[in-house]
Subunit: 149 residues, 2 copies
């Protein structure tokens, strides 16, 4: 269905506007981090730990961090009560990282701040446009998911 002459223009425009919109939403979510004394890299780490316990090595790999940098980050997060270190009982060299209740709260607060911000914006959009936006975003998301497999 590359039927309209300006297909390339649409693609560039959608890429650009999606990027700008998601930068603004993330920024608004991050504003709340200051209240918790949490930095964006720490939020990033929490996001990975949300889906389950990881070893230090696994987290470092996912975040593309050198070993010393990962240790430094984890030290601060543990002092801040966001995560817990646990030594593996069968292999004492392995350290597992677990999110605490406070860590979970931080993630929830950030997502809620994003939603509050977005609610304020979407309240100014006509309900039929809102519906069209959800429907079309879902369409492209479904196409993307289908390609991922």
């Amino acid at each position: 269905m590359r039927d309209d002459p300006d297909f390339g223009g649409y693609v560039a425009e959608i890429e650009n506007v999606l990027r700008m919109v998601s930068i603004i939403i993330r920024k608004r979510g991050r504003d709340i981090l200051e209240n918790f004394n949490v930095t964006p890299p720490q939020l990033n780490a929490l996001n990975f730990l949300r889906h389950g316990i990881l070893t230090m090595g696994e987290l470092g790999q996912k975040m593309y961090l050198a070993c010393s940098t990962a240790t430094d980050l984890i030290d601060r997060m543990e002092r801040n009560g966001l995560i817990q270190r646990e030594r593996d009982t069968s292999d004492r060299r392995v350290i597992r990282l677990k999110m605490t209740v406070k860590g979970n709260e931080v993630i929830d607060e950030v997502l809620n701040a994003r939603k509050r911000y977005l609610a304020g914006v979407l309240a100014k959009v006509a309900s039929e446009d809102r519906k069209a936006l959800v429907d079309n975003l879902h369409k492209i998301y479904e196409l993307m998911k289908a390609e991922e497999v």
Copy 2:
């Protein structure tokens, strides 16, 4: 215009689907980084340097990195030919970072990879839906920008 009963549901859905879509697009753009031997934190740094020359301190602050971590990152990037260090002529303690031609190429390639991927997805969407998507995304982007000021 919070006129539909399921306003909260729409907000949560849009926040979620926007987040998922932008995660997938960024991931697809990143796949190309391996060809250049560039890590995501390095891409992040390049993104900040794209808008102008920064000092080491400024870049570290923008990326929320400890001084030693920032130095480490910059060392690798300089060895990889992505950036250049320059000492300030009036204050030798200040180091300015400048993106090289190669650094610029990496950014361009990543954005192009995102667009190629998105073009493949959008080609499968009816042109009227594509148009509605661009229009509605622009509407919310304009509302967001108006609030930013």
